[in-house]
Amino acid sequence: MGPIVYMMGAGPGIQLLIAFLIGIGFGFALEQAGFSSSRKLAGMFYGYDATVLKVFFTAAIVAMIGSRILSSLGLLDMSLVFHNYYYPGPAIVGGIIMGAGFVMGGFCPGTGISAAAIGKIDAIIFLFGGGVGAFIYAETYPLIQTFQNQGNRGAVKLSESLGLSDSLFILIVVVIAVVLFWLAEKAEKIFARPDITREL
């Protein structure tokens, strides 16, 4: 039963090799999606290109349903898969700061890496800024560590908080995603900017 690294007791070398291979797939998928273009990504916030929403939600749904199937076939032990901890304050404040960074820079860290890989100089500068952001955080950590570490709710699942079974919850997410896809297709027509999208 997966995760494979636990099943086979893989050593650090194998784990790092898997990380590298997963990274290749990740970078490849992001670049193929067009996420190596900041003006395409920014289109999400101005309506002329909603690729971000389509790719992001499709990927989330595929992984949700896929892991659910693997788990019910007894092929994947979900309790061994990392679930991120919920700290409401830092998650919301951090998310708001990230959103501001997104519309300023036109990238998120992953898309910035895929863009730097094909020679986008603005992406290289974005990543350099990212390194500076991590440095500022590290140096100011003593000032914010109280806020950073308060209110831990643990690895709580939204489905459980809402009192829904995982399958029903996933179904609801799929329905919401389909509605969002429909809105995204409409928005791209209403806010169309052929002068921008032609160049991307």
Partner: protein
């Protein structure tokens, strides 16, 4: 020189990305991440610069406890792979070229400053939120965590909120 090809259909690209994420979960019991790898690179550079500073800091010291280099890390190898994967994709699609992508209405200088500031904000926020769009939002949503959904809504909600102030950079 390969002729420039169009991008993949977004829903198909989403399926591909979802399968990569599922593979990470199945093989390693992890999600995907990007800001974490950047953090480990910065920690290594600071460590190479000043061991004293690193040992006396409540933040850095935890990354040097096991005596291993912070570069020998899952997240670092993953972002190295991302550079290779992005390059392969660009190479087969004829998209590899040095370029500053910007709106024709703003100067290169302005684009570079905004890209730099965007990076500073994004990765700072990602440290607070314990992950970025991929590590906290996408990977969290895949395992249905509240943290995943809340971070996703906060990032995109805030993006729409600030979009008006930065519109001159894009449209």
């Amino acid at each position: 020189m390969v002729k420039r090809k169009p991008y993949m259909n977004p829903y198909l690209a989403g399926v591909l990305l979802g399968l990569v994420l599922l593979s990470a979960m199945y093989l390693s019991g992890r999600g995907l991440g990007a800001s974490g790898g950047i953090k480990y690179c910065v920690v290594s550079i600071v460590g190479a610069g000043s061991q004293d500073h690193v040992q006396n800091s409540p933040y850095y010291s935890k990354y040097f406890e096991e005596g291993e280099s912070p570069m020998k890390n899952w997240l670092v190898l993953e972002i190295l792979g991302m550079l290779v994967g992005g390059f392969i994709s660009g190479a087969i699609s004829g998209r590899i070229t040095w370029k500053i992508e910007r709106s024709p209405w703003i100067s290169r200088r302005r684009r570079m400053i905004m890209a730099f500031l965007g990076g500073v904000f994004f990765v700072y926020g990602a440290q607070l939120a314990r992950g970025c769009t991929s590590g906290a939002a996408l990977s969290g949503m895949a395992v249905l965590t509240t943290a995943g959904f809340v971070t996703m809504i906060a990032i995109f909600g805030s993006g729409y909120l600030f979009a008006w102030f930065f519109r001159k950079n894009w449209i």
